[in-house]
Amino acid sequence: MSGSSVTAAVPVGIDLAKPEMKRTREGFGHGLVDLGERRKDVVVLVGDLTGSTNVNYFQQKFPERFIEVGIAEQNMMCVAAGLAAVGKVPFLATYGAFASCRSADQIRVTVAYTDLPVKIGGAHGGISVGPDGATHQAMEEISIIRSIPNMKMIVPCDYWETRKATVAMADDPNPNYIRFGREPVPVVTGPETPFTIGKANLLREGHDLAIIACGVMVYEALVAAQELEARGIHARVLNMHTIKPLDKDAIQRAAKDCGAIVTAEEHQIHGGLGGAVAETVVQLHPVPMELVAVQDRFGRSGKQDELMAAFGIKAPDIVRAADRVLARKHPR
């Protein structure tokens, strides 16, 4: 792989059969503490979800820079904008459903149109939230946020990447959004894995097809690639942790090198990672694509694993999508 925009970051020593499990929200919480120590201008706002978004770590260390807003997400978004307007770097935390949908107009007009460096932490992203059910399983954030000018959208894959992304967000001058989850998820990167906003990470090399994934689906993609490998199919796996700005170079290279692409996300199929990748592929290098995503339906209560299986976003679903896309790549 000679792609200049793709950082080789093959996970070493990761046992896909028995991975270490860690919460991405812990990564957000610890990333904020890293930031709090490094930067005096970082402040944190929360909407009555201190513990469940793990901003409690920041609160304990930096109470003078911690602002409880109560159950008022629209107010919180604009208070954060006001703080940014006078030189602060505000991070706010609430569930992704409220951070994206409920505050969409506040993000659009006040935050993004003014281009203020508001940092939005959307917890409880995806179906993996589990028992809370549909209202609390945010599955529309990628499409909402990436449609708004000036916004950046980051969907880290595990604890370490969430922690690094949180720190990187503060150094970025634009408003941005980070999506993380509730339950422990497999750790597939390490503290030394490079992370740059807008630069995809190559996790596995291959030339038969490319699997482009974000969030918890990066692990599922690695598992799928391993299964495909056993059948002699070599899949490239790209961790597309930034949906906007999208690493078009890495996508174009994947399309050229592999000739077939499967995307995988824990998000609605409309306008998410798959849609973003498809927009790039059709314009730069059209190849067959399959999209593994939630099929335009609301979530429901259940356990993380059974929900992901029921909604068709586990590794076997990626393998089936790979078979479909390869059939189109090499018509029988």
Partner: protein, 300 residues
């Protein structure tokens, strides 16, 4: 940057110029809002030319007070105040809402230096002002923050989220001003969706409420002083005003909320204000040079 502290007589004169500017720029653009800008002219003149410490030639001056219009649609009065105060040349007002100009229909930070935060979707500005007040206090700044709201805007739920927040955090250096002209696009505010008793609502949310005639300059200056001297809670000024104030055929008529005067109507309005469209447009064009007395325009 000191406050200008113009006399009451001078403030009346400035307010007259601002009203003439509003009519002239609306007549040129043939697009924009007339009613609210005219009703909020007097208290905003007091803000820019007496109450606030602003620095038009260095808009990010760390010692500045902050003003924010949550009612973004009153750009005619915002831009007229900014131009009269020296933020940009008066002639720019003639580019209002034009593609080639820098004066958007609703305030845009990146188009118009001096605008702190873009606005235009109602109900968000008080929250923004809370954030600016909170951040300033964290830095130990002595800055005051002024937020202009509409009375129809009080129907937005987010206003009350922000009202709760400001009182909870005792943002005593935050001052809200409500342009209480009793009119909104669909008619009388009380008919569209009643907001009364507005003063009681704000008091019950923990604010210091100052109820004044929003066209009486003495009462306006007194209200700002009272707000400045209020401790432990934010203040809100209910400025009772008249939509379309200063133009006989616009006063008290909700139909003037969102429309500009025709050239003929503008001529009549300016005649009522002692000038003509040609004379006032020439005055605006005559001060194209921003070097002319920055911070204060000379008399025409």
């Amino acid at each position: 940057m000191p406050r200008l502290k113009l006399s009451i007589e001078e403030l009346h004169e400035r307010a007259l110029y601002v009203r003439r500017d509003i009519i002239a720029l609306l007549a040129r653009a043939q697009s924009g809002h007339s009613g609210g800008p005219l009703s909020s002219t007097d208290f905003s003149t007091a803000l820019f030319f007496h109450e606030m410490n602003v620095n038009p030639v260095r808009v990010d001056d760390p010692s500045r007070d902050i003003w924010h219009f949550s009612i973004g649609h009153v750009t005619p009065v915002i831009y007229a105040q900014m131009a009269e105060r020296g933020y940009f040349p008066l002639v720019d007002l003639l580019q209002f809402r034009q593609f080639s100009g820098h004066l958007q229909g609703h305030p845009s930070k990146h188009d118009t230096p001096g605008i702190e935060v873009s606005s235009g979707s109602l109900g968000q500005g008080l929250s923004v002002s809370c954030g600016m007040a909170m951040g300033s206090r964290m830095d130990g700044a002595s800055r005051r923050v002024y937020c202009v709201m509409g009375d129809g805007e009080q129907q937005e739920g987010q206003i009350w989220e922000a009202a709760m927040f400001a009182a909870h955090y005792k943002l005593e250096h935050l001052c809200g001003i409500i342009d209480y002209n009793r009119k909104q696009i669909d008619g009388d505010v009380q008919d569209v969706m009643g907001i009364a008793p507005l003063g009681d609502k704000w008091r019950s949310f923990g604010w210091h409420v100052i109820d004044i005639d929003g066209h009486d300059m003495t009462q306006i200056l007194g209200a700002f002083e009272e707000a400045r001297n209020t401790r432990g809670k934010p203040s809100v000024i209910l400025a009772r005003t008249v939509m379309g104030k200063g133009v006989s055929f616009m006063e008290e008529d909700f139909k003037w909320h969102g429309v500009p005067p025709s050239p003929e109507q503008a001529e009549q309005a300016l005649r009522e204000m002692g000038t003509s469209l040609e004379e006032w447009t020439e005055r605006l064009m005559g001060f194209a040079n921003p070097e002319v007395a920055p911070g204060m325009r000379p008399k025409p």
